[in-house]
Structure formats: C-alpha cells, structure tokens
C-alpha cells in the first residue's frame, strides 16, 4: 500500500519522555570554561611540565644533585651546565630540578594535610551550628591572631629541621582558611531541601555531612586547595632560607636561594634560577586557582 503524507504515522511511545537537549555535567562544563582562560591554561601547562621534569629531569642530566667538582665551581651557564654551577661545583640545573621535587612534594603534602583538617573542622563546625560552631570558630579566631610563621618556627625548633617536619608543621597550622570557607559553605547548604530529604530517608548526621554536604562544596575546596599550595611552597622556601628547611646536601629552592644570595653580586645566576623557579611556580598555581574559581562558580554557568 502506498503511503500518503496524510496516513497515520507510527511513533515510539517512549520517545515523548526523552529530553532532546544533550546533557553537560558540571565538571565537563567547568573544564570547558577553564579552557577559555588563557592564564589558567598557562598555569596548568607549566605545572604539568614542571611535574614531568621534576620526575624525569634529575635522571636525564649526567650529574646527581650532590655531585661535587671543585674544579668546575661557580661556572656561568654554558653548554654542559645549562644553569651553571654553584660554589661546590654542583650542577645547578640538576639541583633546580631536584628542588622542584622537594618543593612540589612539600607543597602538595602540606596542602593535603591542611585541607583535610580544615574540611573536617569546618564541616563539623558549620553542620553542628549553634554553640558548638561558635566555640570552634572562636578557637579559629584566636589562632588567626597569632603570627603563624612564629608558630611554625617554634615547632621546627622543637622537632628539628627536615622534610617531614616541615610538612607536619605547615599542615598543622595553615588549615584555618579552609576551615572558614568550608564552614561558610556548609552553613548555607545545610538549609537546603535535599538535606531535609536525606533526613527523611533516615540518613544520620555523619552521612549527611560527608556524603551529601561536602561533595557539594568541592568547587570552593578545590580553589582554596590550589591557592594554598603556593603558600606552602613559599613557607618551605622561607624556612629553608632561614636555615630550618631540608638539610644539605638535599636541595630545595629555598636552600638554594639561601646558599647563593651571598654571592649575588659575583654569580647572580645562582640566585636567579631557584628564585625564578619559585616565582614561576607560584604564579602558575595562582593563575590556575583564579581560573578554577571562575570556572567552578555556578553563577558563571551558561
């Protein structure tokens, strides 16, 4: 039978329930917006590059970070030693790359510790609310009033210098900002109806906090985390600079800067490379953090 345009059409009854619009998840959308930010992408690429060379770099140069050769001391940048050598004849490129490992490791570990403390503390404070919240936040206020760097220095004096101790000292004292941010988020979120809905299906307070509330604050948490990493790296560099950092012959960017600033007038490149590395890394993390803040802001969603 020939079908005419006016014959009854066959339709799939399920089709009417389908939403035609393609769905874009929150993270895919955030990634799309992050890609639009040139500075954030610069930061991301630089950090990826830094991580790769920090992992592979020291193995690719012919020296190790502690190889000394006094006949080749204080060389300016040249073909064999791209970044020159220091006063003990150690290759500065190798030491800078090795320092990247230490600095990044400290930055990431310390940020991880401080974020974990801050998220749990702020989460409990905001979710409990009332008197508990008041009490917990006054403790934070008091800690804010004390110069943290002094605290870190005292801790380092007690426990001694060393990589792990730096991580612990920074991690244990810099969680205040994260705690405040998470608390603020939780305070706003816990009034939302889906929290009440979670209660009506019998979820307990811990389950609501960790499963329903904290995943909803991932945006601000990631931004704060990203912006706290350069702080930790800088604190490590500062501690190393005043002699409380990692001990020789280990190299971090801070110890390298400390070793070389005396020779600033005669061999300026010895300071230039570690200082430049610190600056570029800080800049990259800050660019990335700024980009993430814009990308994860739900009000920016289109």
């Amino acid at each position: 039978m020939a079908t005419t345009p006016f014959a009854r059409a066959q339709q799939d009854p399920n089709a009417i329930q389908e939403i035609v619009r393609p769905s874009v998840t929150y993270w895919a959308d955030a990634w799309r917006r992050l890609k639009q930010s040139r500075t954030a992408m610069f930061g991301l690429c630089f950090l990826a590059f830094l991580i790769v060379v920090a992992l592979l770099g020291p193995a690719l140069t012919p020296w190790t970070y502690s190889d000394q050769d006094l006949t080749r001391a204080n060389l300016p940048p040249n073909r064999t030693n791209w970044f020159g050598t220091d006063d003990l004849g150690r290759d500065l490129l190798t030491r800078t790359l090795y320092g990247a490992r230490i600095s990044l490791l400290i930055g990431l570990l310390a940020s991880f510790i401080q974020s974990s403390i801050g998220i749990i503390y702020g989460g409990i404070s905001g979710f409990a609310g009332g008197r508990t919240d008041n009490f917990m936040m006054r403790i934070v206020d008091i800690l804010y009033g004390i110069p943290v760097i002094l605290f870190v220095i005292i801790l380092m004096m007690i426990f001694g210098a060393g990589l792990i101790n730096i991580v612990i000292a920074i991690g244990a004292l810099y969680w205040l900002g994260m705690a405040r941010i998470v608390r603020g988020q939780i305070l706003a979120l816990k009034e939302q109806e889906f929290v009440l809905a979670a209660r009506t299906i019998g979820a307990g307070p811990w389950r609501i906090l960790f499963r329903h509330l904290l995943p909803n604050c991932m945006g601000p948490i990631i931004v704060t985390l990203t912006l706290s990493i350069p702080g930790a790296i800088f604190t490590e560099a500062f501690l190393s600079f005043i002699g409380l950092g990692v001990s020789a012959p280990m190299a971090s960017w801070g110890t390298m800067a400390a070793d070389s600033y005396g020779a600033l007038r005669t061999y300026p490149w010895q300071l230039l490379f570690p200082a430049g590395a610190i600056s570029l890394t800080m800049l990259a993390f800050n660019f990335l953090g700024d980009g993430l803040r814009d990308a994860l802001d739900p009000r920016m969603r289109k």
Binding site: E193, G204, N216
Partner: protein, 339 residues
C-alpha cells in the same frame, strides 16, 4: 473499630515553636488516624500546620520547634518514645516523604541511582549491586523510560516531572508503610500534576502504601484520597469522607476553600471567591473560634467560645457553632446567600 487495619494513630498532637517573642502553636491538639492502604488528604492554607503535622510524624521538627504533647502510634510503635537513632531506622523504611519542589530536594552532585540506593543500603543492608538493580526497577515502576541508563544520570539531566518521579522512587524504595506527600504537585505543570497523582494512585494499589497527601488544592484530592482533613490555624476544623466534604461541607472555611477552586466543568458561570484576610498569627490566635475574624457568619458565641469537633454524621465532624440547632437561623441566612 478495625484495630488490626489501623496503621497510624495521632492523638492530641501539639507542636510549638519557641521563638524569642513567645510560643507559636503551629499544631494545636490534632487527632486523626489512618488505616492500612488508605489515603487521606490534609487541606488548608499556607501556615496552617499541615507540614508541621507531617514533620512531627517523622520527628524532624527543626529547633526551636518541639513536640509538646500527644501520641503518635505507627503500627503499634510509639514514635515519640523512640530514640533519635531508632527514628533513623523508621525514616525512609517505615515512613518516607516527598516534597513540594523536586528541583531542590534532590542532591545535585549525586546520581539519581545513588540517591535511590541510599535508603536501600541504609535500611535493608543491600549490597551495592542489589541496590542498583532495585533502583533500576523502581525507576521503571515510576515510569521512567531507559531506566538502566537514567540511573547513572544527575538530577539536572531530569525534567521537573521526572525528578518528582525519581523522588517518589526514592521514597518508596524500601516499600514504606506510610508515604507523606507534602504538596507533591504544587511546583509542576498541570499535565505533569495529573501524571504524578495518577502514579501515586497506581502505586498505592500496587504496593498498598498508606498516603497522607498534604495540599492546598482541593482539586487534586478527589482522585486519590478517601477522606479529607481540613486544617485551619493548627487545628482540624472539618473532617470526613471525601463526598461529605465536597457536597455537604459544613464549615464556612471549607466553603471558602471550595469556592476558590476554579472548575472547568461548572455549567453556569461561577465567580471565584477568595477567602478575605490572612490566617491568624499563631503566636496570639484569636479567642473563640480561630476563624471568626474572617468568617462572614460569625455569631456572638464564635467570638467567645471555641467549638469542639461536633459529629455531623458518618465520620463527618465539624468544628463550627453553625452546626448547632440554636444557630439554625443564621445557617439558613448563610445558605440563602449561596453560602
């Protein structure tokens, strides 16, 4: 009378919010009961205590609110005597709730599947795979096509009506004895409203769940519920079988509610008559009948003495002085004026 069919009994429930200006009596001496597989509706304006009644059953009254007195018995268990931990076992398992706005009552960062699985894992000790399987079945049951694919999607990928279906799937996952539906259709389009009511009716039959439907819209009640409670200012002012309420309402407030429902099937042109004024401030409710300041037929006694729930025949009870024989004259006047 049928004690074995009785699911829920609420006696003299009183829930108040103790604010800094004083005690707000949101629910003030409410009593009713509900049989197994029965659906009733609680009807009234905003702020008359419907939602607080439902939240009292779940014991989820936010501070500074508190259940002051009363008894809530669910299937022989005294809910008000339970510890918070025991209540968590009741919520979602024996009693669950769906909300007005499906846009905000689903967690935006968890998949629909995970949210339906949650009560199953919490209450039935199911493994993740079994719970996922059940979540897919539940989504199919509430009429979501391609459930196996949909189960991994997020709430923003669902339309409003589908989210409400997902909410219902989540609430019914553990096959609860009682479903509290707090204005489940208010934020939906009319066509979707009809679908959701139809779905609830269907599921009530399939799963024999009892339903308390809270609404301010008398129009959606008829298809689903067998009895209606009309609440005003924290009290039940009229209750009865659905026919009695629709065709033989005795309380002027119920008349007002019925007159403010637009009807498409009315033969002659009919004016929509709003009830003038606002519900009273429950901090200082008016003396006498709480409705008297807004009532067009108030008598002297209404200003002074509060009416109890008088019997008006066959489970129909009304808290209004007009039902008394002495008020026949005023009642006649009221009926003549088209109520």
């Amino acid at each position: 009378m049928h004690t074995d069919d009785r699911l829920l009994a609420i006696e003299d429930l009183k829930t108040s919010f103790f604010t800094y200006v004083g005690e707000v009596k949101a629910v003030d001496g409410v009593s009713f009961d509900l049989d197994k597989a029965e659906a009733i509706a609680i009807v009234g304006e905003s702020g008359c205590g419907k939602t607080v009644t439902a939240m009292s059953i779940l014991r989820l009254i936010p501070p500074p609110g508190r259940i002051v007195r009363g008894r809530i018995t669910l299937d022989g268990q005294d809910l008000l005597a339970k510890s918070e931990r025991d209540m968590q076992q009741v919520r979602g398992n024996d009693v669950s709730m769906i909300f007005q706005d499906p846009m905000t009552s689903l967690n935006p960062v968890l998949t629909i599947g995970l949210q339906i699985m949650e009560p199953l894992i919490l209450h039935q000790g199911m493994s993740k795979e079994a719970a996922r399987q059940r979540a897919v079945e539940m989504l199919e049951l509430v009429g979501i096509p391609h459930a196996a694919r949909r189960v991994n999607q997020y709430p923003h990928q669902f339309s409003g009506g589908m989210r409400q279906r997902a909410m219902i799937a989540m609430a019914l996952a553990c096959n609860p004895k009682l479903l509290l539906a707090d204005e489940p259709t208010t934020s939906l389009d009319v066509t979707i409203q009809a679908q959701i009511i139809e779905l609830m009716k269907d599921l009530k039959q399939k799963l024999s769940t009892s339903i308390i439907l809270i609404t301010h819209d008398l129009g959606i009640v008829a298809g689903l519920c067998s009895r209606v409670l009309v609440m005003y200012a924290g009290k039940i002012i009229e209750t009865g079988p659905i026919k009695a309420i629709y065709h033989d309402a005795r309380h002027p407030y119920t008349w007002g509610l019925l007159k403010s429902v637009p009807r498409l099937d009315a033969l002659e042109k009919r004016r929509l008559v709003p009830i003038l004024g606002q519900p009273p401030d429950l901090l200082r409710p008016p003396a006498g009948c709480r409705f008297h300041p807004r009532c067009g037929h108030a008598m002297h006694i209404c200003l002074e003495e509060e009416p109890e729930l008088f019997e008006a025949g066959d489970g129909h009870r009304v808290a209004c002085w007009l039902t008394q024989p002495q008020a026949a004259g005023v009642l006649k006047e009221a009926m003549a004026g088209g109520r």
